[in-house]
């Protein structure tokens, strides 16, 4: 028995050794890859962000480095954000052009719908884009222009250029709820969620516009 124990101990040492060797080798491989790919990954994450922002805010319209000019905000229920986020500020020759803020519609058909919204300095919506959603493919996903079958005028574009001045909170609903905004029959819920969230975000932006623009770069509100 003792001998068995002894040999057991030895074998286990050996196997452990081998295990370690393999681990080290392949971990090295992985972290090497990670090293190599990391910049690329971050870059594409950035691109991703920029692409979305470009959708709602044409690149030419501002001259500051957008991603470096932001205020950090804590959780804001009105925007449906339950943890901190950044609000970017687009300026042209230091004059406010637009706010780019992330928002979320909590009441999508299948959970949260992430949005990025640009609010021009004049209180008009620069544009709205869905950055993440789990709506039913082929039904609720028309809120994402990439998936919208109507390529000529995607559903989401109906918000572009609208301001609270034109559409009061009372009408800021989908038609089915006796509001002004269109929806696709059979998928009202998604439409409703996005519309309401956009409305709330716009209200927030217009209300705190000056505070947001005024805040120091990278500061918190």
């Amino acid at each position: 028995m003792t001998s068995a124990r002894y040999s057991a101990a030895r074998t286990s040492l050996r196997t452990a050794g081998i295990m370690v060797v393999f681990t080290i080798a392949f971990t090295a491989l992985m972290s090497q890859t990670y090293r190599m790919t990391r910049p690329q990954i971050e870059a594409s994450a950035q691109d991703e962000k920029m692409r979305l922002i470009n959708d709602v805010l044409p690149p030419g319209t501002y001259d500051n480095v957008l991603l470096d000019d932001f205020v950090a905000v804590g959780p804001i229920p009105q925007l449906g954000l339950d943890q901190g986020a950044r609000i970017y500020r687009a300026r042209l020759a230091d004059a406010p052009v637009a706010l780019v803020l992330e928002a979320a519609a909590p009441d999508g058909y299948a959970g949260k719908i992430q949005l990025v919204i640009a609010v021009n300095a004049d209180g008009r919506l620069g544009g709205v884009r869905v950055t993440g959603h789990k709506e039913t493919p082929g039904l609720g996903d028309y809120i994402d222009p990439k998936k919208d079958r109507n390529k000529s005028q995607p559903w989401i574009d109906q918000f572009t250029g609208v301001s609270l001045a034109d559409v009061g909170p009372a009408q800021w609903k989908v038609k089915r709820d006796s509001g002004l905004f269109g929806y696709r029959v059979g998928a009202t819920i998604s439409a409703r969620a996005v519309t309401n969230a956009t409305g709330r975000a716009l209200e927030y932006a217009t209300a705190n516009r000056d505070a947001l623009f005024g805040a120091p770069n990278g500061g918190r509100i």
Binding site: Y109, R176, D177, R184, V185, G186, A187, T188, I189
Partner: protein, 335 residues
């Protein structure tokens, strides 16, 4: 070589199914008279499709066709499909539904008697999942003349919102979901709701009830399932209603709307896909009622019965296994 017993009671599958069809007639009459006469057309389409599909599958499988067709079970399935679907669907949806029921659900499992799922209900679920918008367009009772109905069914242009009023269930759901509205306010919109769930609509459950009682009298269905189903549905809706009358509809509403009555007597009772032991039947039907209620009230679908039925179909083998009645002598010998 034929062995004993050499005498048999005069009973046949055909007579059973025929009884079910007869029992459906009152409900259908009410449907035609109060809601949408076009349902007759749908029934016709569905019946033809069902028989054709059945014959096709039997032929493909080199099985004798005549007996299987004459047992009428396919017709029952077809009719139930139609009665669960909105009446103003374009014809191809009905056809598709029936095909799913007969081909995919019934014959892939070997035909009559072997399908673990309720064909009509699978058809309903598949369709509402595939075409949620089409499948949630219930016409306000008796507001469309037959011609428009026919156009809708035979598929000329359809401008959707114009004609479809929310059904009682849908209106209530969207009403409550939209926020603000409370049960009374929603229920009191007279045009969507008559005395009970849907003006005109309320006659249907009565028709189905009548037919159901006939089935009970003929002992084609046992009391277990209808009673358990309706009781459980009433019970759970009562509990929620009493807890919060503003948010939850009263029991009679839930009993009268949607497929409740139809389901209680014609769908939950499907012998083939349902539980068979007495205790099993009670569990099965009650389970359907509870799940259906939850889906109606909290779920994503306008009508939960169909899904509830499928969900309980899944449980049937286990239920049957666990609820075997005690065999003669195994209850313990002495009285």
């Amino acid at each position: 070589m034929i062995h004993s017993p050499y005498i048999r009671k005069p009973a046949s599958v055909q007579s059973v199914m025929l009884a079910v069809l007869l029992a459906l007639l009152p409900g259908i009459a009410a449907y035609v008279w109060q809601v949408a006469a076009v349902v007759v057309v749908n029934l016709l389409i569905a019946t033809v499709t069902a028989l054709a599909a059945e014959a096709m599958m039997l032929a493909a499988r080199k099985r004798p066709i005549a007996p299987a067709l004459s047992d009428l079970s396919a017709v029952v399935t077809a009719w139930l499909v139609v009665l669960c679907f909105p009446p103003i669907l374009p014809w191809w949806v009905t056809v598709l539904g029936v095909l799913i029921a007969i081909v995919a659900v019934k014959h892939l499992y070997g035909g009559l008697g072997q399908n673990p799922f309720n064909p009509a209900m699978v058809a309903y679920c598949a369709m509402i999942v595939a075409f949620p918008s089409l499948m949630s367009q219930w016409p306000p009772a008796g507001q469309l003349d037959f011609q428009t109905q026919l156009d809708l069914v035979l598929g000329s242009a359809r401008q959707l919102d114009a004609i479809t009023g929310a059904t009682a269930l849908d209106a209530l759901r969207t009403g409550l979901r939209g926020g603000g509205a409370s049960v009374e306010t929603v229920l009191l919109q007279p045009d969507a709701f008559g005395v009970l769930g849907g003006r005109g609509w309320e006659w249907l459950p009565l028709g189905y009830l009548a037919g159901g009682l006939y089935l009970l009298a003929r002992r084609i269905v046992t009391w277990h399932m209808p009673v358990a189903f309706l009781a459980a549905l009433a019970l759970i809706s009562a509990v929620f209603w009493l807890a919060n009358p503003a948010q939850f509809a009263p029991p009679w509403f839930h009993l009268a709307t949607g497929g409740a009555m139809l389901a209680a007597f014609f769908i939950v009772t499907d012998p083939i896909s349902g539980a068979t032991t007495p205790r099993g039947k009670l569990i099965f039907a009650a389970g359907i009622a509870v799940i259906a209620y939850l889906i109606r009230v909290f779920g994503a679908f306008p009508e939960g019965i169909a899904f509830a039925v499928l969900l309980m179909n899944i449980c049937v083998p286990v239920i049957d296994m666990k609820t075997q009645p005690p065999v003669f002598g195994h209850r313990g010998g002495r009285p």
